[in-house]
Amino acid sequence: MLDIITGFLEATLRMACPIMLASLGALFTARSGIINFAMEGIMITGAFFGVYGSYLTGSPWLGALLGMAGGLAASLILGIMSITVKVDQVVAGTGVNVLFLGLTSYFCTVLYPNGQPSSVNAFQSVVVPGLSSIPVIGVFFRQNLLTYITFLLVPVIWYLLNKTTFGLCLRSVGEQPHAADSLGIHVDRMRYIAIILAGLLGGLGGAALSLGQVSCFIENMTSGRGYVAWSAVTVGKYSPIGIMGASILFGGAEAVQLRLQAMGIEIPQQFFQMLPYVLTMVVLAGVVGRTVGPKAIGKPFVKGER
């Protein structure tokens, strides 16, 4: 029994990490007033370039760096479309997703002329001596370094958003862009900064998926996690701590699926595979309406126009 719980916790943390990273990234865009439906495309690009970077250099960290750059490129397209061209952000986000889902599959066959290697150097678990041998709780001390970084980012981002001038500016742009503009805050610039942060974190989240879980790239491997990450922003009530909880919840749903499948329980596997998606719908239905999002979310900013 203890083994099952330990295994489940271990899988939960592993599954929650990519969602949490992407969701924290999406939080910046949400608070600055941009709907980030492009997270799926940002993550898949991060996952692809994470593996490609590790394949080229042999280092998963340089891979993750390349993954972040890829995520940034995908995110910037959303930024240009929603901040400068001022089009429907949901449709633009969907366009980014379709484009990068296609590009990653396309270049997966082109960039690896001899076929993709079955595995590249991936993140290794860091075992904290002593602590990791405590039963059950020990799993928290034998994760890969990226998981620790992810959890460390939660208080950092909380501080950044709530206790710094930058955070105040960013939030004001998402709530009252015209008021912020009249105070001399560059609305578009703040939103581009949010887009850049979302791209970097989302790309890292994608790399956490491909380099932290399976050590290779599979077409469409994000399978909706980008959308789940965006939902986690709403479910987590637009706060980093809430997002941590929501990501662990969604990670847990994926972990249940993996563990129960492995244990050979009689319920057909497809029902467990549905679980994360059904859970997202149910939780959203319970939470939305009771959460108040940033006021200006989804609305392009046009100077001098109300």
């Binding site: 061209v85 089009v87 379709v98 066959t109 965006w230 939902s231 497809q270 998606y277 997202t280 239905a285």
Partner: protein
């Protein structure tokens, strides 16, 4: 300016410049967007070390070269067109559905159940029944997201995406369990009864009556949106929900109804795919027609006529891409890339046409000055 003499009175008529007509601007914008898509796609093909010109030739030959390839292009346009017509209704009502894929799958599932379980019925009853049940199934599936949006305000985008995955796994379970073929070997259903197969209308090809049904649907959707009070209410709810509500239009009801209708068209597309081509249910039979149809609806300018042209374009693209992969080894995932580019560039169409018109006007203005000088 034109001087006219009407009934003894001098009347001055200012004729609108052609560049000011909204239709001209829209067509110009869409045309430019398409041109950019082709340009960028060419660059991407060139990056992979293949000649874009040869690839293009290959695609055109593959899509229109023979009688059979034209038929294949038309067959592939049918689900795209039906599902994009549904999305047209949906987007016009102000709802961004990404759920066509799941609705197509549910429609196909329903048609399979009808076609397998009621195989004894005569064709004349079985075929319409399969289509109707498929459409209702797709419609109800979409209504889940519509209801959650109308009642609780949950984003229909997220829910339609989640429902896609749920539908995929649901069919995955059914073809591996209760609906699996009697032989029990592959994860697929039994064959539909012969009576449920759609009749072909062009001998020697796979072209079935779905083509006619899709063509009729184009007229139906146009009539619904622009000739019926319901369509007016839907468009009003979409373009200005607050004004619509003030005028006594029930926005929530229209939302659910629009989602149902869009799901019904996608469901119809799914049932036609099953009854016309595959004749049995299996995983992934929809091959992402639902996602393509988003690009089709947007490229078609959310108008039935435009959507028809866009569906034919994408149908040809799919048929051509298969030939291109066989002859040039250019991956079929290029179609996804093109879709994404279409969505993004079409979004910028207003900007593109405004920019071009400004350039044209500056050039024309300069010429006029030269003329005066």
């Amino acid at each position: 300016m034109i001087q006219m003499n009407i009934g003894g009175a001098q009347v001055q008529v200012t004729r609108k410049k052609r560049t000011e007509s909204p239709l001209f601007q829209k067509v110009l914008g869409l045309g430019l967007a398409l041109l950019l898509v082709i340009l960028v796609t060419g660059i991407i093909i060139a990056l992979s070390g293949k000649s874009p010109l040869v690839a293009g030739q290959c695609m055109i030959r593959g899509a229109f070269g023979t009688k059979n390839s034209v038929a294949e292009t038309l067959i592939k346009s049918v689900p795209l067109l039906l599902s994009a017509l549904g999305l047209t209704i949906c987007y016009r009502t102000g709802l961004t559905s990404v759920g066509s894929e799941g609705q197509i799958i549910i429609g196909g599932l329903m048609a399979t159940i009808v076609g397998v379980k009621l195989a004894a019925l005569p064709s004349i009853a079985l075929i319409p029944l399969g289509m109707i049940v498929g459409a209702i199934g797709g419609g109800l599936w979409a209504s889940i997201a519509g209801l959650l949006k109308a009642k609780l305000g949950v984003s229909e985008v997220i829910n339609t995406i989640m429902l896609n995955y749920v539908a995929t796994y649901l069919v995955g379970y059914l073809v591996d369990g209760p609906l699996q073929e009697a032989a029990g070997f592959y994860p697929q259903s039994d064959m539909l009864g012969q009576n449920a197969w759609l009749p072909t209308i062009l001998s020697g090809t796979r072209m079935h009556i779905g083509v006619i049904i899709a063509a009729v649907s184009v007229v139906l959707v146009w009539f619904l949106l622009w000739k019926l009070p319901l369509g007016y209410q839907m468009r009003a709810a979409g373009s200005n929900p607050i004004a619509a509500r003030t005028n006594g239009i029930n926005v929530a009801k229209n939302m659910v109804l629009a989602m149902f209708l869009s799901g019904a068209f996608a469901g119809l597309a799914g049932s036609i795919e099953i009854m016309g081509l595959h004749h049995r249910l299996m995983n992934g039979f929809s091959s992402s027609y639902g996602f393509d149809s988003m690009a089709v609806a947007l490229l078609g300018g959310l108008h039935p006529v435009g959507v028809t042209i866009a569906a034919l374009f994408f149908g040809a693209l799919r048929t051509g891409a298969n030939t291109m992969q066989r002859t040039l080894q250019v991956p079929v995932s290029l179609v996804n890339v093109i879709q994404g580019l279409v969505i993004l560039f079409v979004l910028t169409q207003a900007l593109l046409s405004r920019f071009t018109i400004r350039v044209i006007q500056r050039y024309a203005g300069k010429k006029e000055e030269d003329h005066h000088a």
